[in-house]
C-alpha cells in the first residue's frame, strides 16, 4: 500500500489536472473575451490558481482514510478545507461576485450534506442487515437448544 505522502501527491496531481481542465473549459467556452485585455499575468494566475484549487479538495480526500474518525468529522474537515480554499481562490482569482459567492457556498453546503446523508444511511442499512443476521443465527441456535454460538 502506498504511503500517505505518495497518495497525497498523486491525488493532488490528479486534482490539479482536473482544476486546469475546468479552467481551460471556462476560458474556451464561457469566456467574456476580457482575458486578453486582462493580460498574461491574469491568465497565469487563473491557471495556477485553478490547479491549486483542484489539488486541495482532491488531496484532502485522504482524511476519509482516517477510519477511526467518524463520518461526520471527516466530512466536516474536508468541507472546511475546501471552503477555505474556495474563499482564498475567489478572493485572488475573482471568480464570483461576492453576492453570488454566498449562493455558491450554500449549494456547496447542501451538496456536502446530501453526500454525507447518503453515506450515513448506507452504513446504517448495512449495519442493520448485519445485526439482523447475527440475531437470526443466535435465535436459530437457541431454538435448537444449542445455547451460545460457540
Amino acid at each position: 500500500m502506498k504511503d500517505l505522502r505518495t497518495r497525497l501527491c498523486i491525488r493532488a496531481l490528479i486534482g490539479a489536472l482536473f482544476g486546469i481542465f475546468i479552467c481551460l473549459f471556462f476560458m474556451v467556452f464561457m469566456s467574456d473575451g476580457n482575458e486578453v485585455i486582462r493580460g498574461n499575468y491574469y491568465l497565469i494566475l487563473q491557471f495556477f490558481g485553478s490547479a491549486l484549487y483542484g489539488a486541495i479538495p482532491m488531496a484532502g480526500t485522504v482524511v476519509f482514510e482516517k477510519e477511526e474518525w467518524g463520518l461526520l468529522k471527516v466530512t466536516c474537515i474536508h468541507y472546511f478545507s475546501t471552503f477555505i480554499a474556495f474563499i482564498i481562490a475567489n478572493f485572488i482569482l475573482d471568480w464570483f461576485e461576492w453576492e453570488v459567492f454566498g449562493i455558491v457556498v450554500a449549494i456547496m453546503t447542501v451538496l456536502y450534506f446530501i453526500i454525507w446523508l447518503i453515506q450515513y444511511r448506507r452504513y446504517k442499512s448495512e449495519i442493520k442487515r448485519i445485526n439482523d443476521e447475527l440475531e437470526t443465527e443466535l435465535l436459530l441456535r437457541d431454538d435448537k437448544g444449542k445455547g451460545e454460538r460457540d
Binding site: E67, L134, R149
Partner: protein, 151 residues
C-alpha cells in the same frame, strides 16, 4: 468396519463428531486422532504468552486480536495474552470462516460478536458477547456483511 452417518444441521457452525462404539478400541482411538488432526490443521491452536509462560489458546476461545503499543494482543473471554508475531502472520493462521479484519490493527471472531452500532457522528462500533467493544473501519463493513451472510 465403520458405519458413517452424515446429518445436515444448519444450526451448527462447526462440524460436531460423535463417535459411538462398544469400547474405546485402538481403531476408535485412531479415528479420533485422525479427526483431531484434520481439525487442528484447519484451525491450529495459537501459542500465546502470559507473562513468562506459554499458553495454547484455541481459536474458538479468541474474541479478538489487536495491536497495542507495537504488541499483538490476543483477547479471550477470560484473559489477554501477548503474541510474538505480526498481526498479518496471525491473520494467516486464523480460520477465515470465523475471523475477519475490522481495521488496520484488529481482527475479530465473528462468532463472538453481539452487534454493531452506528453513532450519530458516524463512528461504527462493535460489541462482543463478553461486553467489550471496539470500533470498525468504514471500509471493512462490507467484508463483515459478506462474511455474516455466508455463515
Amino acid at each position: 468396519m465403520v458405519d458413517i452417518d452424515f446429518v445436515l444441521d444448519e444450526a451448527l457452525m462447526d462440524p460436531k463428531v460423535t463417535v459411538r462404539a462398544k469400547e474405546k478400541s485402538e481403531q476408535v482411538e485412531k479415528i479420533i486422532a485422525a479427526i483431531e488432526k484434520v481439525s487442528e490443521s484447519d484451525h491450529p491452536m495459537i501459542t500465546c504468552r502470559d507473562g513468562e509462560e506459554l499458553e495454547f489458546v484455541s481459536q474458538r476461545d479468541i474474541v479478538r486480536v489487536y495491536t497495542e503499543k507495537r504488541k499483538v494482543i490476543v483477547e479471550t473471554d477470560s484473559a489477554s495474552y501477548s503474541l510474538d508475531k505480526t498481526l498479518g502472520a496471525v491473520e494467516e493462521m486464523l480460520g477465515n470462516d470465523r475471523f475477519v479484519r475490522i481495521s488496520q490493527s484488529e481482527i475479530v471472531n465473528l462468532f463472538k460478536v453481539k452487534s454493531l452500532n452506528l453513532s450519530k457522528s458516524g463512528t461504527i462500533g462493535i460489541t462482543f458477547d463478553n461486553g467489550s467493544s471496539t470500533w470498525v473501519a468504514r471500509s471493512k463493513v462490507k467484508a463483515i456483511k459478506q462474511m455474516v451472510e455466508k455463515t
